[in-house]
Symmetry: C2
Amino acid sequence: MKVTRLSSGISIRRTIAEGTEQQVTAVKAIIQEVKDHGDKAMFRFTEKWDGAKLTSLRVTEEEIAQAVERFDPQLLADLTEAAANIRKYHESQQQQGYRLDNEDGSYVAQRVTAIESAGLYVPGGTAAYPSSVLMNVIPAQVAGVSRIVLISPPSKDGTLSDGVLASAHILGISEVYKSGGAQAVAALAYGTESIVPVDKITGPGNIFVALAKREVNGDVAIDMIAGPSEIAIIADDTAYADEVAADLLSQAEHDPLASAVLLTTSEKLADAVSEQVEKQLASLPREAIASPAIANHSMIYIGDSINELIEAADQLAPEHLEIMTADAEAVADKIRHAGAIFIGRYSSEPIGDYFAGTNHVLPTNSTARFSSALSVYDFIKRTSIIRYSEKAWQNNKEKIARLARLEGLEGHARAVESRSWEKGTTK
Amino acid sequence: MKVTRLSSGISIRRTIAEGTEQQVTAVKAIIQEVKDHGDKAMFRFTEKWDGAKLTSLRVTEEEIAQAVERFDPQLLADLTEAAANIRKYHESQQQQGYRLDNEDGSYVAQRVTAIESAGLYVPGGTAAYPSSVLMNVIPAQVAGVSRIVLISPPSKDGTLSDGVLASAHILGISEVYKSGGAQAVAALAYGTESIVPVDKITGPGNIFVALAKREVNGDVAIDMIAGPSEIAIIADDTAYADEVAADLLSQAEHDPLASAVLLTTSEKLADAVSEQVEKQLASLPREAIASPAIANHSMIYIGDSINELIEAADQLAPEHLEIMTADAEAVADKIRHAGAIFIGRYSSEPIGDYFAGTNHVLPTNSTARFSSALSVYDFIKRTSIIRYSEKAWQNNKEKIARLARLEGLEGHARAVESRSWEKGTTK
């Protein structure tokens, strides 16, 4: 792994995948096909890209029951325990409305309600992640979304993975469809004969899914468009090189474009981690994915002080930030920008991916400067409410009319004044 | 105004302005110019499109002081009172973090912090709205954003409107720049010699501003991209036709593409409102703007029951919804989708635009199904925090490793297990 002095500046830059013009055109065409031909287009695309001949998009209750039956009971228990932790963490995000009453009988209020329907895209194949089902569905459930739908590309034999279906079962989700790529996003956004459209689409996916989400954004809501995984670790000479290396590789194995960065005050640790990364890479099953991530998007930076490391971490604003220093809590308190912070030696990043309860859908590409983890807040909406009494109107109408006229909006002024116009015989 | 039966279905459809290919290309070119040439490009574009020859982009303290001096003291008092109402309403949106401690010494937490910098685009010319300054700046201030910047296109003489500068003064904002259009958005996103970039850009603007915001989205955060104004009114025979008509026109005067819809159970009211709209239009200063909005994007629907009207309103999910019925509160309680609800005869829509305290930046184009008013929540971010103790790790490491291996992520499993690897001589 490459090692450099931090004083030469941060060279790791993260950018959003834009997609080629060809990909954008293809995605637009797919969406139009689904709009025009509904299920027929869905069946055609699923045969073309997933190699599965379907006669129905909906997963049957029996298929779910059979998947649960086949699924390792120990893993089912693990997923159930993880789901409970995730639910507990997200329950603290429940939001209340409020109402402010004035003495003149007027009030203003904020009403909080859940979005009515949400569709979660679950990638298929090697990236069929049961944990993604938990992380996307649970915040929606805690928010009170009444209809939650899963959609995921089938294998060639027309089935979804047992892990995904078992996760759906644990969460009580029974509306599950077989479809992937841009066509799945289009079906969720615009509906087909067998899929009623949803109000919000969330979940990870490949470039076609990301482009389709960007395309339908506005007609329906979408969550963030996530980039490749990122980890940064701040460590001093109290950290163990093999553990730092293992944590760096845990994110590198996600994607050839993933980024793993070590920020350290210790030259000795830098060298040892560099060596450990190479050593551990050799036996990693996903070595072919992790190697280019380490070679092209990763770096070990050596800084003069912990404060310099903190400054660099804020500049990166990484998706995941681990802190393995003597006084890890104090360092964490000073961090301004990170999606999630993992404090101390025993808070290895995968603990957050699977189990601790926080959400693993996190801002990438330095957007932690202004974005947050997927949460209950993403599945609610707020309606403003204004009730003016006659007295409140009387007390304030002149001010409001003056402000409207200041902006050249005579119609606004007249609307407020119309309540005092002389009334004719018709109301 | 056109009148039709609701049973024939809602014909008002709202869509997002996409911009022509030519406009998109022009906006991309402007952004690149600003990235490449900074202030020089800003001066050139400002001369080209605003007709103003500038030597400095920054508004001086003296310019602000002089604008306040010239400004009507009564209006200054009105804006100050409005600002206090807006601040009070938004203060209830302040969000707290939380921390959940487990018996094994581990904890998960959510830390809430403000975005560090925000830039507000304020349209110039006839649409220079002091109220927009209040509505965008105050939520950011309540959130705790430490740097708030205004940018607005100058008149030909190189000045900004007294109303905008007076509003900035009231709010204690002193970093104000003269620039409009896509170049202003580019400068806020990427910076120039004289403008330090911001983390989030909010505020209304024309199609070039909207396209530029879409273009920079991801590199910085943006607020929603708002469409033309919308109002829907649910009214029964207790409503006054002249007041209903005046309120419809208050939104129609914003934009030729604005939409004003009346939903009523009363044929008599329908006819009277139709007549009143035509009558009031004739003397409206912005008649040329309101007329096409009324002719092309507005409608009076007659329904059989209040419930049918409620159903239709939910289908529209309008930006503004007024309720003028005998039991307006009960009707309001049943509404599921609207940006803001104005209850009863005295809650004319402009009260919310200027004074009541709720935010006038609201979801348009039926996006109230899943979007909300601009708020304090738009200017904060949340960081997840995970601290696992040795005991928590010990208790859960096997489960986490199993879940990682279920997903084929061996590197994740090893990271968690690495804490129990035998250590060599180096840490």
